[in-house]
């Protein structure tokens, strides 16, 4: 490469870098630079194409994990500050795409975060991951975990949430959504939510919960206490005939400790409220009598199993 090309390339890289900045405003200067030499436009195009290609490579690369296995020791220094910010570039197209400028926010187990968007407040529970759009605050995708949505209704711009294959549309709302290995759960505290407005269009009203389980082609509607919806934010988890598998998953998100229900107790129903504030070790020990199970700890995770002996009276 001769010197002239080399210089054009270096300058083009500089412009490509700056133009990617969301606040870039030197369009006139860029125009002048492009006009100055016919090599510039081609070099700029190359630099932009390199950026595009890099996006594909970066997306294909393993994500620098912000959701480490529970209680993993601190990682290397540089990545540390980054992960603490908990805003990670995981999924999503770049700001170069029209309109959509997605970014992902993720929490570690036990960590919660509140996101304030225009017209909506989203509380993200632990071990959860949501993708939002900088250019469209009325759109979100819950990738996994749980979030509580407080949405100001706007009939012209309904708030739309994508969860797996399902779409939810708010009808003026406070609602909680969980997406994990056991499927989708939508609990509504106020107002109503439309489930798949273009297909089934099931209306979930306050005090109702919709459940969609993987591999089942029907959804179930049930009753909940609307006051308990999003209770995890205040350190209260309310359950109404919830299987222990669900209780365990909810506790995992809130406590930052992996809790699993053994197969023999996973389907057992539990009704009650668990306070997750306070001493974690005590709380875990108390799960035994509370859930009528045996609590076994190994390698920092907790397994709930059936009690070995029948209690005598």
């Amino acid at each position: 490469m001769n010197q002239q090309h080399e210089q054009a390339r270096e300058e083009a890289i500089g412009w490509a870098m700056r133009v990617a900045d969301p606040d870039f405003g030197e369009w006139t200067a860029l125009t002048r630079w492009l006009e100055a030499d016919p090599l510039h436009a081609a070099a700029f195009e190359e630099a932009l194409a390199a950026g595009d290609a890099a996006d594909a490579a970066l997306k294909a690369a393993p994500v620098p994990s912000a959701l480490p296995v529970v209680s993993r020791p601190a990682r290397r220094r540089i990545a540390g500050g980054l992960l603490a910010a908990a805003i990670i570039g995981a999924i999503g197209w770049t700001a170069f795409e029209h309109q959509a400028a997605p970014y992902t926010v993720a929490t570690r187990p036990g960590e919660t975060r509140t996101l304030r968007l225009e017209g909506a407040t989203i509380a993200l529970n632990g071990n959860s991951r949501i993708t939002l759009d900088r250019h469209d605050p009325r759109r979100a995708t819950l990738e996994s975990g749980e979030a509580l949505f407080d949405v100001r209704h706007d009939p012209d711009h309904p708030f739309r949430l994508t969860v797996g294959d399902a779409k939810l549309e708010d009808v003026g709302t406070r609602f909680d959504v969980t997406q994990d290995g056991r499927g989708l759960r939508v609990a509504v505290a106020e107002g109503a939510v439309l489930y798949n407005p273009d297909r089934e269009a099931v209306r979930i009203t306050a005090g109702a919960v919709l459940r969609e389980r993987p591999g089942e082609n029907q959804v179930m509607l049930g009753q909940i206490d609307p006051a308990g919806v999003g209770g995890w934010r205040e350190g209260r988890l309310a359950f109404q005939s919830a299987p222990l598998a669900t209780v365990a998953a909810d506790l995992t998100r809130s406590l930052g400790v992996t809790i699993r229900a053994a197969p023999e107790v996973a389907a057992r129903p539990f009704t009650g409220v668990i306070a997750t504030h306070g001493d974690r070790v005590r709380l875990i020990a108390d799960l035994g009598p509370l859930l009528d199970v045996k609590v076994r700890e190994d390698h920092g995770s907790v397994l709930l199993t059936a009690k070995a002996m029948q209690p005598r009276s």
Binding site: A16, M17, A20, G25, L58, A61, I78, G81, T94, D156
Partner: protein, 177 residues
């Protein structure tokens, strides 16, 4: 009430009309001389459809939108060129018996290039990789990246520059092969 706030679009359209010459000059300088008028027309139509919300800096928004339209066109052209080349190679007489479908060939080219670029990015140090990722996928401003990584702005700039250079070199490897 009818949807949206008509003033927002009118506002942008007014800014468009006032700055049309500057936009045209930019699109032309970007190498879109023959299609410059088309691009601006598309932009005008988009403004009428899109009804963007309040825009902090309308002129910057318009340049950005024009740039996006240009980029779509360039991408489409690159794809077409790649298809053309793949088809010529796959159907040329130089490789009898090798009857890979053009689409398969295309995928192979893309995969090889992707692998080269991934290797080039992987060869960067961790800080540069992190900065590049935040820059490309998060669309974070350089200043914000500097804050997130706890380094100076000039460090971020030189990290990003190295990353771009590495990807450009990896891509050039394609043409020399």
């Amino acid at each position: 009430m009818g949807g949206g706030d008509p003033r927002a679009a009118d506002g942008l359209q007014a800014v468009f009309l006032a700055n049309r010459p500057a936009l045209l000059r930019y699109v032309t300088a970007r190498g879109g001389a023959d299609a410059a008028e088309d691009v601006l027309h598309d932009l005008w139509l988009k403004l009428a459809d899109a009804r963007p919300g309040p825009v902090a800096n309308p002129l910057s928004y318009l340049f950005r939108a024009a740039e996006n339209l240009l980029r779509d066109r360039h991408r489409a052209r690159r794809q077409a060129a790649l298809r053309e080349r793949a088809w010529t190679e796959a159907s040329g007489p130089a490789a009898p018996g090798v009857s890979d479908a053009p689409s398969g060939e295309r995928a192979l080219i893309a995969r090889e290039e992707l692998a080269r670029i991934s290797a080039a990015i992987g060869a960067l140090d961790e800080r540069a990789r992190a900065a590049f990722r935040l820059h490309r996928l998060e669309g974070m401003a350089q200043r914000a990246i500097a804050a997130a990584l706890g380094v100076s702005l000039s460090t971020v700039e030189s990290d990003l520059r190295r990353a771009y250079r590495a990807v450009l070199t990896a891509r050039e490897g394609d043409d020399e092969a």
